[in-house]
């Protein structure tokens, strides 16, 4: 049984008559200790999926799923109290902007100790030492002084390390990282990714890494899920999925990378924009932007079909099959 099982997750906002569909029938599963990367443009529904797992979608957002289970517990029917016990202890999350994700009025020590206090308990006197140890584990420079610092006294990279420390404090089984490096300098990005990977391996934690940056995902993940407009369009194992993509969208994402455009005048881009609230196609969601679209794509929405080993694709005419 997988650690995280999601089947047919739907998240909608706005009025029921004219909903904004953020997540549309997403299936996702993560095993213990597995590293899965989720890629896609802004608006693809990757962050909303992670927030739905954590239960942080507030009304008027509506979360529906055939199955949403973490370690066998049904997250759709969980009591608020049980959910609060789970968050931070069994599943933890770090966010995109570390400078604003920490409370400016409390010290690092206070915020770390808080997590320990509610989930781990134990003696108050030991908690400060535990917090210090956590800072060491996230490679925080000069941890003794940083403990009593306020967030505005730390750099972005350091703040993100604090976030990671808070997240791993209780040894969660699943860590969700939503664009953890997007707001950081490139050099710090590499350090943080190495840190996440090292922690993941040491603790046998499952890691769900969300990013729009294919390079970031390629460095860390074992398996990749590609999302578009709220749907999963392709899944597969690295490195194969990037070497031989099966979905036109994945191929286009790869083609837009600077590395793949050496010698060109302009980057290859995907024309058009992600469908908004009112122009969601009835057929394949990508067809207005896909060069290979034919009438079947316009009329019929493709289903996610299993391919060979452990990969899936949602396309009538995948790249490794017959031409349209």
């Amino acid at each position: 049984m997988a650690l995280l099982e999601i089947e047919q997750l739907n998240v909608a906002f706005g009025r029921p008559e004219a909903p904004l569909i953020a997540v549309d029938g997403v299936d996702l599963s993560i095993d213990e200790g597995e590293v899965v990367g989720v890629v896609g443009e802004s608006g693809s529904g990757k962050s909303v999926t992670s927030l739905a797992i954590m239960g942080l979608i507030d009304p008027p957002g509506r979360v529906l799923a055939a199955r949403l289970e973490l370690a066998g517990r049904n997250l759709l029917t969980i009591s608020p109290r049980a959910r609060r016990e789970m968050l931070g202890r069994d599943v933890a999350m770090i966010f995109q902007d570390p400078m604003t994700s920490l409370n400016p009025c409390f010290t690092v020590a206070h915020q770390l100790i808080e997590t320990l206090r509610i989930h781990v308990g134990g003696k108050a006197t030991e908690r400060r030492a535990q917090a210090l140890e956590l800072l060491r584990q996230v490679d925080m420079p000069d941890p003794e002084h940083r403990l009593d610092a306020y967030p505005h006294q730390l750099s972005g990279g350091m703040c993100q390390r604090v976030m990671v420390a808070m997240a791993i404090a209780c040894n969660p089984r699943l860590l969700i990282a939503d664009e953890p490096t997007t707001a950081l300098d490139v050099t710090i990005q590499a350090q943080l990714l190495d840190l996440l990977l090292a922690l993941q391996q040491q603790r046998g934690m499952a890691l769900l890494l969300i990013s729009h940056d294919l390079g970031v995902v390629a460095q860390v993940a074992q398996r990749v899920v590609v999302m578009y407009a709220g749907q999963v369009v392709e899944t597969g194992a690295l490195p194969r999925i990037f070497e031989a993509p099966r979905h036109p969208y994945t191929q286009a994402l790869l083609a837009a990378l600077p590395e793949n455009n050496v010698g060109r005048r302009r980057l290859q881009t995907i024309p058009g924009t992600v469908p908004g609230q009112f122009d969601r196609p009835a057929g394949c969601l990508l067809h207005p932007r896909c060069a290979r679209a034919v009438s079947r794509c316009v009329l019929e929405r493709p289903a996610l079909i299993d391919g060979n080993p452990g990969s899936q694709v949602r396309c009538h005419f995948p790249l490794d099959g017959e031409a349209p």
Binding site: G88, F95, P104, E114, I118, H152, M166
Partner: protein
């Protein structure tokens, strides 16, 4: 932090000097001067008038008179009341505890009711509770305070007979008042029923005076909380599995309080204004009533002194709030 403190204190000094200039000009702009006031109805001969004017120093150039006045102020001499011949400062200090007790009670009430109301309105935004809190607040600061006081008296004192109409304590009680705070002195006197009497006299004026601060605090807390609840660190707090109480009342409120504290400090002016009207209605023997009576009696030294001291209090409280703000906001606390 140090530069912040020094800068704030530095800005106070010119304001203070300006207030003294204003108070000084007040007397000289009022038609008639002290000599004329002393002359009374009968009038006096021109020689006597000149003599008196010379005695009072009124024939010297204005700038000399101003510096003289300033000198007196710095020695604590704010002049003498025309009617009672007492030192203005002494009368002020005698009557101030009554106003202070009333104002403190009012602000405590305003906080006890306003903070939770604002928090709840923000958390349950656009609900019936939210609209009620906002509606009641709006009505609260749209009412003339003296009329609200009259209504309260009409309901609670006249119709229900629960509270007395005027004064600080029933006449029957007589005990020493070392602190000037009737509640404390009544408690310490040990006399049966004294504390209850003091409390029942205090409650209605405190409600009347505290209504506007209550409305302002509720509104301000609500809008500050609404902003803070949208912040990323609140999402982090929820992602850590913290309880609703912890998220709202520890993480969010701590940040929302920063602008609210400033607003509370600004209420000092409102409280003094309200005290003038409330004390008049409830015959509460504080500085508000003292000032109003002085105006009607044309006791200008009292008016001048009262205005000056009140302004100093407002400046002092605003300074204290500024400094408190520097302490409470970590970003300022840690700047050089």
């Amino acid at each position: 932090m140090l530069s912040y403190v020094l800068k704030r204190i530095g800005m106070v000094i010119p304001t203070f000097l300006g207030i003294t200039l204003l108070a000084f000009s007040l007397i000289h702009l009022i038609p008639g001067n002290a000599a004329e006031a002393l002359s009374g109805e009968r009038g006096m001969s021109p020689e006597r008038y000149r003599e008196l004017a010379h005695q009072l120093g009124l024939d010297r150039p204005l700038s000399t008179q101003y510096f003289d006045y300033l000198g007196h102020l710095l020695h604590g001499d704010f002049g003498r009341s025309i009617s009672t011949h007492e030192s203005v400062l002494k009368e002020f200090l005698t009557l101030f505890p009554a106003t202070m007790e009333l104002a403190l009670c009012a602000i405590v009430l305003a906080l006890l009711l306003g903070l939770p109301a604002g928090i709840l309105a923000a958390v349950k935004r656009n609900s019936f509770l939210d609209y009620s809190v906002m509606g009641v607040s709006l009505t609260g600061y749209s009412m003339p305070i003296f009329w609200w006081a009259l209504l309260l008296i009409q309901l609670f004192s006249v119709q229900l007979g629960w509270t007395p109409v005027s004064g600080r304590i029933a006449i029957a009680y007589d005990f020493p008042t070392p602190t000037g705070f009737m509640l404390i002195d009544a408690w310490r006197s040990g006399q049966a029923g004294a504390f209850e009497s003091a409390l029942s006299h205090l409650i209605l004026p405190a409600i009347a005076l505290g209504t506007i601060p209550l409305a302002v605090i509720a509104r301000m807390t609500r809008s500050a909380m609404l902003e803070v609840l949208r912040e990323d660190y609140v999402r982090t707090a929820r992602a850590k599995g913290l309880s609703w109480f912890s998220v709202v009342c520890v993480h969010a409120l701590r940040n929302a309080l920063i602008p609210v504290i400033t607003v509370i400090g600004l209420q000092v002016g409102t409280l003094l204004t309200g005290a003038i009207l409330t004390e008049t209605i409830f015959s509460w023997p504080g500085i508000g009533k003292w000032l109003v009576e002085a105006i009607h009696r044309r006791d200008y030294p009292v008016v001048q002194g009262g205005i000056l001291i009140s302004a100093c209090i407002v400046i002092a409280v605003n300074l204290a709030v500024d400094l408190l703000y520097g302490v409470v906001n970590p970003r300022i606390r840690h700047s050089r």
